[in-house]
Symmetry: C2
Subunit: 284 residues, 2 copies
């Protein structure tokens, strides 16, 4: 039976550090503030918004939600981003993505001030991850994976890591972070003919395919540590499921994150920690 | 016996496209111009300078060499970079690296105008490579590898590629480019315990270890295509050698680039093509 890598203790440890930073800021008269920019009212966005708002409230971080209609035009969206950039009381901005299809996502991402890019979506933040300079903010889910590995004392140096999925939100940044932590990293994607064969070589397997339960028993070696970043509603089973087929994999691997309660439980804590870091950074 | 992937025919094909662009620019009264910024007079820099200058002259691209003393101070260097940024007659800047140790390389890199970053050293160019947006300019040696694969019709889709070395000059960017070309990519580095075992799985093997003849016979499978980006003077053998042990590998693999006359022979052509692209970009 695999070790269950629960997210809650990792989140608590991050939150404790964040709370200490918030207390320092409070002594200096600064209340960190996150602006959430939401277009439309998709269920998944609203659920994410509730989770982040709750975490912020617990830690003394203010939240301002800017909800724009689903049919908002690009120029109006850009004006809102610009206003958030200029608002000195806002330290970080979380823009829910993907935006509706009629909007230019790339232009919106690029418009965000790098200093407020707490979700790691700008070219500056992604260059920082790629170059390993530490500039900008790391995409939260990718960083959450690394926080889990560190918290549970899972060695990365010299280990084989396989990342399933090459998105800019998770796959590519987590590959960079794993390599910076001296793992030997392979990224598999939809054009990889034999992902299971490659995945079986992994000491650390990151499931970020974006397809529910697409990672089966044939993907894991007995010593593998499996981190599952997916989260989808499985109508057949009537529950939330990850990108890994948990029931099939769990008996076979060394350790695995549950869904829910794994990587996703850490992501919000990482985001809020970034907001507080951004507030600290404004103090110079 | 392996197919020899010579750089010269690849360079010629790139140069032909560049020459056509230069002719177009000439009709519009524009002469593309590269500024070379050199600190000190290291042999390797001078040799690179001669190669680039010759290629530029052949193609009708002007070259201006700015040679600063080896003990130049940071502020003077930054002023020169700033002046090159502002000089409208200069379309691209090649700064030889690494700079002497007393200088802040990262600050110098960051100071260069992204539009003139024909060598792909700024965060903007590297973010473009990482994100696959096509913004900025790809580091020339990494692009040279891709040009060779394309020229010789070597399939990348669904193939295993192993990159030996994780530098920002070659290893990391070429890994991004190979992944963008739908290869499944693994990066090995100095902390990889068993690089030869991993390399033997490669259909395409990029040797960018930075250590002469460090890639031996045990690194290649019979079907492997080997690209060698290294170039060092081998005093014992009295000749230039790559990062691969050519004599040991060549009888075992399917195709291999020679050193000299392989990847290095393509890099200058890529650089000059970037200068001309930068000149075209100024026309809007």
């Amino acid at each position: 039976m695999a070790q269950l890598l629960k997210g809650a203790p990792v989140a608590e440890a991050i939150d404790a550090r964040t709370a200490a930073d918030v207390a320092r800021l409070s002594q200096m008269g600064v209340t960190p503030k996150l602006a959430i920019l939401r277009v439309g009212d998709k269920d998944s966005d609203l659920s994410y918004e509730r989770g982040v708002s709750k975490r912020c409230a617990k830690l003394g971080v203010q939240v301002e939600v800017l909800a724009l209609p689903a049919d908002v035009q690009q120029d109006a969206l850009m004006r809102e981003i610009s206003a958030l950039n200029e608002d000195a009381t806002v330290h970080g901005v979380l823009m829910f993505r993907p935006l509706p299809r009629h909007l230019d996502q790339r232009a919106a991402d690029a418009a965000l001030a790098p200093a407020k890019d707490v979700d790691g979506i700008t070219a500056g933040s992604l260059a920082g991850v790629f170059m390993g300079t530490g500039e900008g903010y790391t995409p939260c889910t990718a960083q959450a994976c690394m926080e889990i590995l560190a918290h549970y004392g899972i060695e990365t140096v010299g280990k084989r890591a396989v990342v399933l999925g090459r998105s800019l939100v998770v796959g590519r940044p987590v590959a960079c972070l794993l390599m910076a932590a001296n793992a030997t990293v392979t990224i598999c994607h939809t054009k990889t003919p034999d992902p299971a064969v490659i995945a079986r070589e992994a000491d650390i397997l990151i499931c970020a395919t974006g397809r529910m339960e697409s990672v089966g028993a044939d993907y894991v070696a007995p010593d593998a540590v499996v981190l599952d970043v997916g989260i989808s509603w499985n109508a057949d089973k009537g529950k939330l499921c990850g990108d890994a087929d948990f029931d099939a994999i769990e008996p076979l691997c060394a350790a695995i994150t549950p869904v829910p309660g794994g990587v996703g439980a850490v992501t919000n804590s990482v985001l809020v920690s970034h907001v507080v870091q951004a507030a600290l950074a404004t103090l110079g």
